[in-house]
């Protein structure tokens, strides 16, 4: 299995604060890796660097061997990284289906002239968009209404739609920023099986998560960060036994064990 996403010595500073200082990891096809660490460790900042929302002040990020460091988010998304956000970033007034269609923007298939004249090409591509939207909603196990504005839906459903939207992008790498936050036990179980099904599509998943039970069960490798530094990397068992990790979580090791 070759590395799809490679992050080398990533650094970003805001003024004098080094939010991320020397993070390196790689994600491979069919693999789930987790980035963990206490609040403020720089996990989300790292995600924002990888997806182009922040310009890294040092280090290199490459996707399938191509350098993508510092490119604009749309180009990075086009290159093949999709993501979800820590706090839901859906399009609240648009329907569930439209939200998922956002991930399909790059499929193309029609231009403005097709839209104005309703050419057969336009109708074909719209039908394809709709089919695909339903397919991805089915894939994530979404059973709620699909033709209504998304802001009326329950939080758990919105989270599912956000993942469906990211999947519709059909990229090789999926970054999930705290996918389990705010979910109940059943929903977390659903998320677990969903992540495995996504992995089986050949996608590399990188997730940030605070739910240690979920992280330990799901991920094949774990990267631990604290104060912007990478303090450990390894399998769940290795990380659990690492003294530096236990220290970083300062007495929270019972939680790590649970």
């Amino acid at each position: 299995m070759s590395a799809v996403l490679e992050v080398k010595d990533l650094q970003i500073a805001f003024g004098g604060v080094k939010a991320v200082d020397g993070l390196s990891f790689e994600a491979r096809e069919n693999e789930i890796i987790a980035v963990i660490g206490p609040n403020g460790a720089g996990k989300t900042s790292a995600f924002n660097c990888i997806t182009g929302f922040y310009k890294p002040t040092g280090g290199a990020i490459s996707l399938n061997g191509k350098d993508i460091t510092g490119k604009r988010p749309a180009d990075i998304a086009a290159a093949g990284i999709s993501r979800t956000f820590q706090n839901l970033r859906l399009f609240p007034d648009l329907t569930v289906l439209d939200n998922v269609r956002a991930g399909m923007h790059l499929y193309g298939g029609q231009n403005w002239a097709d839209a104005i004249f309703h050419t057969p090409r336009f109708k074909r591509s719209e039908a394809h968009y709709t089919d695909e939207a339903h397919r991805w909603l089915d894939f994530v196990g979404y059973t709620g209404p699909r033709g209504v504005p998304i802001r009326n839906l329950a939080y758990g459903q919105q989270k599912q739609v956000e993942i469906a939207r990211a999947l519709a992008r059909k990229s090789g790498v999926l970054l999930l920023d705290e996918p389990a936050a705010g979910l109940n036990y059943t929903e977390k179980q659903g998320l677990l099986s969903l992540c495995r099904r996504i992995r089986d599509l050949g996608t590399a998943i990188v997730l940030i998560e605070h739910d240690m039970g979920l992280v330990m069960e799901l991920s094949e490798r774990i990267v631990v960060m604290n104060f912007g530094h990478e303090i450990a990397e390894g399998t769940p068992a290795e990380v659990k036994a690492n003294p530096a990790v236990i220290e970083a979580y300062l007495g929270k090791d019972e939680e790590v064990e649970s």
């Binding site: 997806t51 182009g52 604009r72 648009l94 033709g147 504005p149 939207r165």
Partner: protein, 345 residues
């Protein structure tokens, strides 16, 4: 047409509004009904005054539908929209007069000029949001008017007059009020339909994604700068065609027609009608342009009454008469159940 898979995917609406009024409003034939009313109106009243008012109203509908692309679809607050109409009107007026051409032959030049104007206002404002953008567009609108007021080619404060008509074929005179009204209505209807269709396409969705959350749109691979520029360009083209019709209608163009109040009125039509919903915007534009005429009996008090009515509408319908509603057909039950169960297990 057989490839239109819509037939298999378009079952009954679920969760859509079901009241009688809503069903009338959402019906697909409504556009044809509106066009029919517009075409039959001269049979009810065809005084030169009435035709003049109705033609002006139709041009106003075109402007509002263009601004709806920028403000309603893409969420870019534009306070200088009338500048695009000015660019269109002056370009066609100047060229038609200089070369003694009918106005239709100036369409390519107007297209080029309005696209340029769209790029000029769009490019520097791509990074700006809401209030800052509003100020810049306001400035652009005023710069355009003041420039027209001071250049010799635009005829200075008195503007240009004696502009030729749209076209002439033998005895057929496009400037005859009733004929011109029908031409205007058909052109405007085509543009309104085109704008509505753009709104329901991949590009239209991209505009809405940008309006709702620019960062999330970027993360999905939507190049927000390109998408916003396209909104400006389409808005500018719509405004430019409004300008051609305006120049042909009055056969004169002067800077007084492009004051800030005009931009504000077009924006008011969009907001009053319901941002992002082309049907609502058409109604908003008709109200804004026709109501002052209908209130003419109140003489001095008519703008007071007009203002009060607008306030009342905004109090009771803060989203406009007819806001854009996010509803679309669900999938048929049969289709839905089976894969959904698979996904949940």
């Amino acid at each position: 047409m057989t490839e239109n898979v819509d037939t298999t995917l378009a079952p009954k609406k679920v969760g859509a509004p079901q009241s009688f009024l809503s069903r009338v409003f959402e019906s697909r034939q409504l556009g044809w009904v509106a066009l029919g009313i517009a075409l039959l109106a001269p049979f009810v009243i065809a005084t030169p005054y009435a035709l003049n008012v109705m033609t002006t109203a139709a041009i106003f509908v075109l402007l509002a539908s263009g601004l709806n692309i920028v403000v309603g679809y893409c969420g870019l607050l534009d306070l200088g929209y009338i500048a695009f109409m000015a660019v269109g009107a002056y370009t066609s007026g100047i060229i038609a007069k200089a070369f003694e051409l009918p106005l239709v032959f100036t369409i390519p030049a107007v297209l080029v000029m309005t696209v340029l104007a769209g790029l000029i206002i769009g490019a520097p404002t791509l990074r700006l949001r809401s209030d800052y953008l509003a100020i810049v567009t306001l400035g652009f609108g005023e710069i355009t008017r003041i420039t027209a007021n001071n250049l010799t080619i635009t005829g200075g404060p008195s503007g240009i007059f004696g502009i030729p008509g749209l076209f002439e074929v033998g005895d057929f005179d496009s400037q005859e009020p009733a004929v011109f009204y029908y031409i205007t209505v058909l052109v405007v209807a085509a543009f309104v339909l085109a704008a509505a269709r753009l709104g329901k396409s991949r590009l239209g969705r991209a505009w809405r994604f940008v309006r709702e959350d620019e960062d999330a749109a970027e993360a999905m691979g939507i190049h927000t700068y390109k998408v916003k520029l396209l909104a400006y360009i389409f808005g500018a083209i719509w405004g430019g065609f409004g300008g051609i019709l305006f120049a042909a209608h009055l056969s004169a163009v002067s800077p007084q027609s492009f004051i800030f109040l005009q931009s504000a009125l077009v924006l008011m039509a969009v907001v009053l009608g319901g941002m992002g919903n082309m049907r609502g915007v058409v109604i908003g534009a008709l109200v804004i342009s026709l109501l002052p005429e209908l209130l003419r009996d109140l003489s001095d008090y008519r703008y007071l009454a007009f203002g009060l009515l607008l306030v009342v509408v905004m109090v009771f319908r803060p989203q406009g008469f007819w806001p854009a509603r996010g509803y679309e057909p669900e999938r048929r039950k049969m289709e839905k159940l089976d894969p959904a169960l698979k996904g949940a297990s």
